[in-house]
């Protein structure tokens, strides 16, 4: 079936969302070659290919490389977020066994090296629970929550992941016994570039887009996100997606 898709109609009308997306894509494109140079030559120096490197120099080169990669991840995330928020990137929805998917995500996102002395508690429904999701985007949303939870939870703490159906919604909750968030910051958590303080010395700072991406992905699935937190006690983030019957209408994203 060939029809005038919403995207084509909007492009024809010079839609500001399309212009925004193209602008972000253009910036990303222009940044990538210089970033490839910064990171590539830093790697060459680090590897000693240009000459001997002292330990002090190696440490600084490592900082340059890390920061270069941080800009790359920021650019990638900005492109992803803009695509989803403008509705130009549409989820590719596939009927998915959610317990399977969540198991895979937890395994990949919290390897032994990240887990450390934290307890990871996973609570999945016994029977097959399916939902219609974009597996890549859902994985991204959940892994952002897991990465925050481990980053903000000190050694010896606990991160629990629970998947269930509640009120006709597929709910994934990530609860941690971390540092928590004070109330003024809590209301704006899902906005871009809102930072709270991580546990010192661990994991470093995020790029300020993780939760905004999470929300955008949930909303693109016709769902939503929630956050509750008690300063000093921990936080709980949830992703709520419509169960099978309420699948959102979609079009091919090509």
């Amino acid at each position: 079936v060939t029809a005038i898709t919403p995207r084509k109609r909007r492009a024809a009308a010079g839609d500001p969302d399309i212009r925004m997306r193209d602008c972000v894509a253009g910036i990303s494109h222009e940044l990538r070659s210089p970033l490839a140079c910064i990171i590539g030559w830093t790697d060459a120096l680090t590897d000693g290919l240009i000459g001997p490197v002292s330990p002090d120099q190696a440490e600084i080169l490592d900082l340059i490389g890390q920061n270069g990669r941080r800009v790359v991840s920021l650019v990638d995330d900005l492109v992803l977020l803009t695509g989803i928020e403008t509705g130009i990137t549409l989820p590719r929805l596939v009927d998915t066994d959610m317990a399977d998917l969540v198991t895979t995500i937890v395994r990949d996102e919290i390897p032994e090296s990240v887990r450390g002395s934290r307890t990871i508690d996973v609570d999945l429904p016994a029977a097959g629970l399916s939902a219609i999701v974009d597996r890549d985007l859902y994985t991204r949303a959940v892994s952002n929550l897991l990465s925050n939870a481990t980053r903000f939870t000190p050694a010896g703490g606990c991160v629990s992941i629970r998947l269930r159906v509640a009120d006709g919604l597929v709910e994934l909750a990530v609860t941690d016994t971390g540092v928590g968030i004070d109330s003024p910051a809590a209301g704006r958590l899902f906005e871009r570039f809102i930072h709270t303080e991580p546990v010192s010395g661990e994991g470093g700072r995020g790029n300020g887009l993780g939760l905004a991406i999470c929300r955008a992905i949930a909303e693109a699935h016709g769902g939503r996100v929630t956050a509750t937190s008690v300063l000093g006690r921990g936080s709980c983030f949830t992703i709520l997606l419509p169960a099978l019957a309420d699948r959102p209408i979609t079009e091919d994203s090509s």
């Binding site: 990538r32 140079c37 590539g40 030559w41 290919l49």
Partner: protein, 127 residues
Amino acid sequence: MTATPRTILVADDEPHLLRLVKFRLERDGHTVVVASDGEAALDRIRETRPDLCVLDVMMPRKTGLDVLREMRADESLRHIRVIMLTARAQDSDVETGFGLGADDYITKPFSPQELRVRVTTQLDQRG
């Protein structure tokens, strides 16, 4: 893993990046021919008959995709393996490139290992 030394053409309009790719490939023992736009790339390809081309997509005069299209339409250049160098990952350039007969692509920024593996794979397949 390193391939038998071969001649590789690298085309990119960003001189610093061109130098980086050349540096890495030369370290692996390859002979590297460079070009800073698509037209120059085609001239050098016809002159030197490289074993492999690494073509940036966005170049002045002729884009990397234009160069690829002309190579695939030319009986004497059709067999040369081509890796596209692209600034965007989730992007129609990649699909267009494969549609025109590109053999692989590398997204900027790339690790030295990725460059080596992709180049070696293409050179090995060429035999």
